[in-house]
Symmetry: C2
Subunit: 181 residues, 2 copies
């Protein structure tokens, strides 16, 4: 993040509400309407849906220094969400209500650049994930994940990481044991 972006983030952080959650707290549950953006100072949060067979499928893992919507579709459409958003560790961060964010962006036009860059990062992340599932092997997906998240293996259940990487826990375990040995 550039110095300009860091400064803009500071403006935002000063105006948010501090939040503290225990492990396994639901920030949002399926059926609710998202009206919140969060920044994580400490902690890990998973976003998951129930698939057709009733299995939990993790579609995003948020961690330190991430900004995220509790559900981005619901936030913009005002429709009830399919997403469950749950802390996996004790978590502290900053939260903004939708109405408050609107006001902040009205009052601080210099934040438009921050919002634009953040939205493009979200888009790139989601497109990369889609492509990765089509064009990368399980080993490549694991390897990419480890670049910035190797510490998560000591912090959250591995079956959640496996779900995020779209592989079975057994496959993840096999890949890990090969890469470590």
């Amino acid at each position: 993040m550039t110095r300009l972006m860091k400064n803009l983030l500071e403006i935002l952080l000063e105006q948010g509400q501090p939040v503290y959650y225990e492990q396994n707290h639901f920030i949002l549950r399926e059926g609710q309407i998202s009206d919140e953006v969060l920044f994580l100072k400490e902690g890990v949060v998973r976003h998951f849906v129930l698939d057709l067979k009733g299995n939990e499928r993790t579609i995003r893992i948020s961690r330190e220094n991430d900004i995220f919507y509790s559900s981005i579709i619901s936030y913009y459409t005002d429709e009830p969400t399919y997403i469950n958003c749950q802390t996996l560790t004790p978590t502290q961060g900053v939260s903004w209500h939708k109405d408050q964010l609107e006001t902040i962006f009205m009052q601080h036009k210099e934040l438009d650049q921050f919002r634009y860059e953040q939205l493009t990062l979200f888009i790139i992340e989601k497109h990369k994930k889609e492509l990765s599932l089509l064009t990368n092997t399980a080993v490549q997906r694991y390897s990419d994940f480890c670049k910035n998240n190797i510490d998560l293996f000591n912090r959250i259940p591995h079956h959640i990481i496996a779900s995020y990487l779209n592989m079975t826990p057994e496959t993840l375990s096999r890949i890990r044991s090969k890469s470590i040995s």
Copy 2:
């Protein structure tokens, strides 16, 4: 699209370059770098990648009144793309080069709102597609697609629609014959 957004789009369209492509023209090929945004007045364009088995996988179908990046990741990262972007019909539209767009947005601050809304639409679209693959049956995905795109069955090859809906051509054919009969 609201009247305001239509007016903002008009400002953009006036400054773009008209483009005309024959059927099966590649707007972008894997390995190239995307520096272009397009608006379709007439025609259909597919965005596809080659998966691990070398199969073409359609990840987006753009059509009349769509705005799109030839490859959104490559456009913002300047990395060579994995995407192939190809016309499926004779196509006419408007194109903007990246440098030109930067200049237009510098000169017309009123377009910030348009850009913001367009980016959120892209994000919602991509997230909805991700969720749809997890939480919707093939029949539901077909039914959703038909709401705005039923005419495409007379305009583009069905195997491309099947790929976009993440089902085999045989499954798509079976679902269609049941829904029509």
